[in-house]
Symmetry: C2
Subunit: 355 residues, 2 copies
């Protein structure tokens, strides 16, 4: 069962860094009802790896990645708002990306996909709104990469959203974050199975993708949370001498996370999205590009640090946007928006419900 | 030219976790003169990757890794002390390790090397002192892995050193540090050129070792220092579209560091030393195992965090050792001892010169 819908992008869809897509589309899911005036839409952009399936619905009752945030009476209250979650352009969950077939050849794009920019993902979302007849979203919202996308959206389409929520986003990645993502990409690029991007879908560069995901996972939480959850806990069982097999609980956890990811995500899409995150630098914001904004950062986030969150808030304020700023004391690091639901519900729900 | 000397270890040298070495040795260098009473020795243990060549000398005028700390009038004042730096057992700069020839076969040990523990490195240093006729070191000192080794030394050989300096060491690694080191090892283990440890010396698993070193390097400094040094600075020059070649200054820096390392370090030795760091847990310290101690930590160190430094100081105090604690405000993270020489000179020099 799937709740996935598709919006066709204009043909050609000219990309920010050159090149164009033909017959491209954005996959999305929705919850709640669009009001007759079409003025109650909240458009959500995701982080690097999730699909548009953010929450359960009658059409797809499988768990979503933000089930505790989207629904009747929740922070993104589907009794009031029409919530749309978009799969990013360049991803591999229904939207057009490097793993999609190039209509010119019938083959997967792979490295023939044009270079992807955060601005392209934003424009994909804007076209999605247009396809639904929504001239202005009541709010756009996104965590992580999605937090970059909402800023790019506000810069490119002033007035196309009334409000904006940036969660652990960035107006320009730090060299620490760039270094970590660069290494994730290199692990894939150096995997012989990557084959310069030409791997068969059933024979992906699993080793590289596993290493990349493990490194990501380590940095998505905080050292404090790992200490609390795993400490120096060991994995039970014998292992061969000098096998260098996992011994610690944290290593077993990373194994499990990596195995899940390799089953789900395409390596070339990962490379494109990851590089787009490194390259993004927020363009100047037009005065009043949105009316109000909420910027949320997490004090224990090492990838999208709290100083950068303050910089986002300052950029919005500088553009005349009434901007609130919340520094979450959550221990869960960059991923806190997936875990510290009480704090994020209160902040986001509170902001959205303001008149 | 080489200033390297060797001390033979007892034969057999029984290892902490089982197995024994035959004909094993420790490589070391010295500066200054051993007093007739043999009471002015400072024994230094190193981090994971350096050799015993910590400073220049007439016999080897090439740069050392701690030239600014060891010499006449410097913190480790060679006019007063006889400074000995040991290459760790298990390393590849003259001491016996996985890259050394097994006398039983004439071939490199590789994975037939017994499992290595931090306690073995400590005992190698203790035997080195004995071979020089030194019953008691005036001080033992070590940064990073060396900071673990001095603690293991104090636990195993109470009274064999009068004083101890632990710099950014650990009494038990955090799961964050374990995760990062585990991933470094996995990058090597998954490199097809590793060949289950049986690579030829001239065909090492360079890809894995490069990834490992890059990940280490990223975490040896702080995000704040990377931001200050590199920001979002770009590498000049054209690159092929979708080559995914390095674009940012930080990426170029990591490339250079990795290239140097692959030329110098043996992959199997790296695996053994890295795993020993994960496994180490400080044994109980005998009362008065040393007379006085100085524990130095760095507030921006993400690998050996400042809380862990406080725990080391508490363990020493709990064993009746007069213990000083310094939390360095250095921005350079774990590697600050190599960079923030003014602060480290003042703290270490001050401690050593106390009556």
């Amino acid at each position: 069962m799937s709740a996935r819908q598709y919006a066709a992008l204009p043909d050609p869809f000219v990309m920010h860094r050159g090149g164009a897509l033909h017959g491209a589309r954005i996959a999305y899911e929705t919850w709640g009802r669009l009001a007759p005036a079409k003025d109650n839409a909240i458009l959500v952009f995701t982080g690097l790896s999730p699909s548009a399936h953010a929450a359960r619905s009658p059409a797809d009752p499988t768990p979503g990645w933000w089930d505790t945030m989207i629904g009747p009476g929740l922070a993104l209250d589907t009794d009031r708002w029409f919530v749309i979650v978009a799969n990013s352009l360049g991803s591999c969950f229904g939207s057009t990306g490097p793993a999609s077939a190039d209509p010119a050849t019938g083959e997967r794009y792979r490295l023939d996909f044009p270079e992807l920019a955060v601005e392209d993902i934003a424009r994909g979302g804007h076209e999605l709104l247009r396809s639904l007849g929504i001239a202005r979203a009541d709010a756009i919202l996104g965590p992580s990469l999605g937090g970059m996308v909402v800023l790019a959206f506000a810069a490119a389409f002033p007035g196309a959203a009334r409000r904006l929520v940036s969660i652990s986003g960035s107006a320009g990645a730090t060299p620490f974050a760039i270094a970590l993502r660069s290494l994730q990409r290199e692990a894939i690029l150096r995997d012989p199975d990557w084959r310069n991007g030409a791997y068969a879908p059933e024979a992906p560069p699993a080793t590289g993708l596993r290493l990349a995901r493990k490194l990501g996972t380590i940095t998505y939480r905080s050292a404090g949370e790992w200490a609390q959850r795993f400490g120096r806990q060991r994995i039970a069982g014998e292992r061969a001498p000098n096998s260098f097999a996992p011994e610690f609980g944290i290593e077993g956890y990373l194994e499990a996370q990596a195995s899940k990811f390799v089953e789900a995500f395409d390596a070339n899409c990962y490379l494109y999205l990851s590089r787009a995150m490194d390259r993004f630098e927020l363009a100047p914001l037009a005065s009043g590009c949105v009316e109000r904004a909420l910027v949320i950062g997490v004090e224990s986030d090492i990838l999208f640090p709290i100083d950068g969150q303050r910089a986002i808030a300052a950029a919005l304020s500088g553009a005349g946007v009434a901007t609130g700023f919340v520094a979450m004391p959550s221990i869960e690091g960059h991923d806190a928006f997936l875990v510290d639901i009480p704090r994020f519900s209160a902040a986001i729900g509170g902001f959205l419900h303001q008149a």
